[in-house]
């Protein structure tokens, strides 16, 4: 389990996140939602020890993650940051192979198990036909899946993904989300993802955390978080919440900007 304790995160003097206390439940899918610039990536990166907090702790199974050996953390937790870039000319297979880095020593020859995991990750993300193509020559969606395959090859019980469905068309979005759901169901992996589509969050996540200006507005099940007044506070839009006829889960149907937002827009216009 991952817990944050009174986390303050700042870029130089600019404090982005104040006194954050959240819990990431184990063996569940958690969705971080919030407007652009609300601090989702900052929080995710700090929980994955890519950023050091100004004060407070992130605890991974009770131990302060920033004090653990980074390579040991990498065996527990894989993170796909927003907009990663690969060196020119690197093929998909090569990229996915680096996912084995935390498990390799020194010069890094691959064991049979390494090779099996790499092959599995490429297949699971549907990248087999592109396995030997350079990453920089793929479409946005294919590239995203190649990076997900790299994170999968790390074979960690915990998986963080920052906007894994951005750049993807609808079919590929569902493909990625179904894959994450399958990883959760079959292997009980703990997954934390930043998603923009609230209905995807509702459909795939068991736990949602709604962030506004670096603080938690509401955390809980999709049923608890997907309420008109919460959505209005977090995103500044007015919406109806209806039940998905197929799954019974809440769906958000936005119909207007909230009043304060409207005034802002009028000022700009």
């Amino acid at each position: 389990m991952i817990v944050t304790e009174n986390l303050d995160i700042a870029y130089d003097q600019m404090v982005i996140v104040k006194q954050l206390n959240i819990e990431i439940p184990s063996h569940k899918i958690t969705a971080l939602v919030g407007a652009n610039g609300s601090g989702k990536s900052t929080i995710l990166k700090t929980m994955a020890r890519l950023l050091k907090p100004k004060s407070g702790h992130v605890l991974l199974d009770g131990k302060a993650i920033h004090q653990l050996r980074t390579k040991e953390v990498a065996k527990q937790l894989a993170i796909l940051p927003q907009n990663p870039t690969a060196p020119e000319g690197m093929t998909v297979t090569d990229l996915v192979t680096y996912g084995r880095f935390p498990h390799q020593r020194g010069f890094g020859s691959l064991t049979k198990q390494d090779k099996e995991v790499i092959e599995w990750a490429i297949e699971a993300t549907g990248m087999k036909e592109f396995a030997h193509r350079p990453v920089d020559q793929l479409s946005g969606g294919q590239r995203q899946r190649a990076w997900i395959a790299m994170a999968l090859a790390q074979e960690t019980p915990i998986l963080f993904l920052d906007e894994p469905t951005t750049f993807l068309d609808m079919a590929h979005q569902l493909e990625v989300l179904n894959l994450l759901e399958e990883l959760h169901e079959k292997e009980r992996r703990t997954i934390v993802m930043v998603v923009h589509d609230l209905n995807h969050a509702s459909r795939y996540a068991h736990h949602m955390i709604a962030i506004k200006k670096g603080t938690v507005v509401k955390a809980g099940t999709p049923m608890e978080v997907m309420q008109p007044h919460i959505i209005e506070e977090v995103f500044g839009i007015q919406c109806d919440i209806i039940r998905d006829p197929r799954t019974g889960l809440p769906l958000c149907l936005p119909y207007a900007l909230s009043r304060s937002k409207k005034e802002q827009v009028h000022h700009i216009g």
Partner: protein
């Protein structure tokens, strides 16, 4: 998958072999050219101990050490550039563009202006002196381009480097004005990259640095691959990014200083060598590092050979020949990196 891997390895091996054969060809040509002409037959005779005393002197005491030095310096600078490009994710990073060679230069000029008695600078001492100067320059340039949350900023690195290089160049010129005419000429030649230390002493001074540092960097090839994904991905994969960057940068600075201390400010080899190698062999450092070394050796050996022959009996410094090729190549890279 295995079939593809095997084919890839065959391809990589052929590339490295081709580079080696090209080096061998230029090596033979270079042995045959120079102020006093020796025919290929005479060269071979001499190499196998059947030449005259004069032929032996020319080959073993003048040409061979110079050829070996060119190859070592070319390889060292190219590997140094390859490391800097890997850790900064900027294809334009190289020891001369980042002002690191200039740091070494200032140190050497400073030494000469305080101890100007003779040109016999202690040979073994020179790389250490140069290392001190280039470390200071590297600390300045990389320190100014480091941002706490994002790691090294590739664009700022090159801009800072260019500024520092210009400043140090000016400083070197000012310092050398105080020198005697003889020393001034030495510094001027040094600045344009003459391979001046062309004796076996210098080969011996240079060789251990190149071998040890290359071995260290090659051992870190996988880490270098991971670092070239940038700070976030590399940390996520479990690399201690800052620590590894500092170690690898120190190795790159060490290589550059050792080379520059015997060859002077040769630019562009650290830029063109790795770039050429990367285009041919790909971004995997296990193959890219040796390919860069070979490309750099080939490049500088060729440049030095051209410089010695084209305007006989006078010589053009190898650094100038490389710059004539390198400047347009740099502009081409710059134009390409804009999109």
């Amino acid at each position: 998958m295995n079939g593809v891997e095997r084919r890839k390895n065959v391809r990589r091996f052929s590339i490295l072999a081709t580079f080696s054969v090209l080096i061998l060809i230029v090596f033979v040509i270079s042995m045959n050219t120079g102020f006093s002409r020796l025919s290929p037959l005479e060269v071979f005779q001499t190499l196998f101990g059947m030449g005259t005393e004069k032929q032996e002197l020319i080959l073993f005491e003048f040409r061979l050490p110079r050829i070996v030095i060119s190859m070592l310096v070319g390889a060292g600078l190219a590997v140094s550039g390859c490391i800097m490009q890997g850790i900064s994710r900027n294809a334009l990073a190289d020891p001369s563009i980042l002002g690191i060679s200039h740091g070494a230069g200032v140190m050497v000029v400073l030494y000469l202006s305080f101890f100007p008695t003779h040109l016999d600078v202690p040979v073994l001492f020179l790389p250490i002196l140069a290392f001190f100067g280039s470390s200071l320059a590297a600390a300045l340039v990389f320190g100014l381009s480091y941002e706490k949350h994002e790691g090294l900023l590739p664009t700022r690195l090159v801009l800072t480097g260019v500024a520092v290089a210009a400043g140090l160049s000016a400083l070197m010129t000012v310092l050398s004005l105080r020198l005697s005419r003889e020393l001034y000429q030495f510094v001027a030649a040094w600045l344009t990259g003459s391979i001046w230390g062309a004796t076996w002493d210098y080969v011996l001074a240079l060789l251990p640095w190149i071998v040890v540092l290359f071995a260290f960097v090659y051992y870190k090839a996988l880490v270098l691959d991971v670092l070239s994904f940038g700070k976030n991905v590399a940390t996520g994969l479990g690399a201690s990014v800052s620590k590894e960057q500092v170690k690898l940068l120190a190795a790159a600075v060490g290589l550059a200083s050792a080379c520059v201390s015997v060859s002077g400010g040769i630019g562009f080899v650290g830029l063109i060598g790795p770039h050429l190698a990367r285009r041919i062999i790909g971004p995997n450092h296990k193959y890219l590092l040796p390919a860069s070394a070979l490309a750099g050796a080939l490049l500088l050996l060729t440049a030095d050979t051209i410089g010695r022959t084209i305007l006989q009996p006078s010589e053009i410094h190898a650094g100038i020949v490389v710059a004539i090729i390198g400047a347009p190549y740099f502009l081409y890279l710059l134009a390409r990196s804009n999109h």
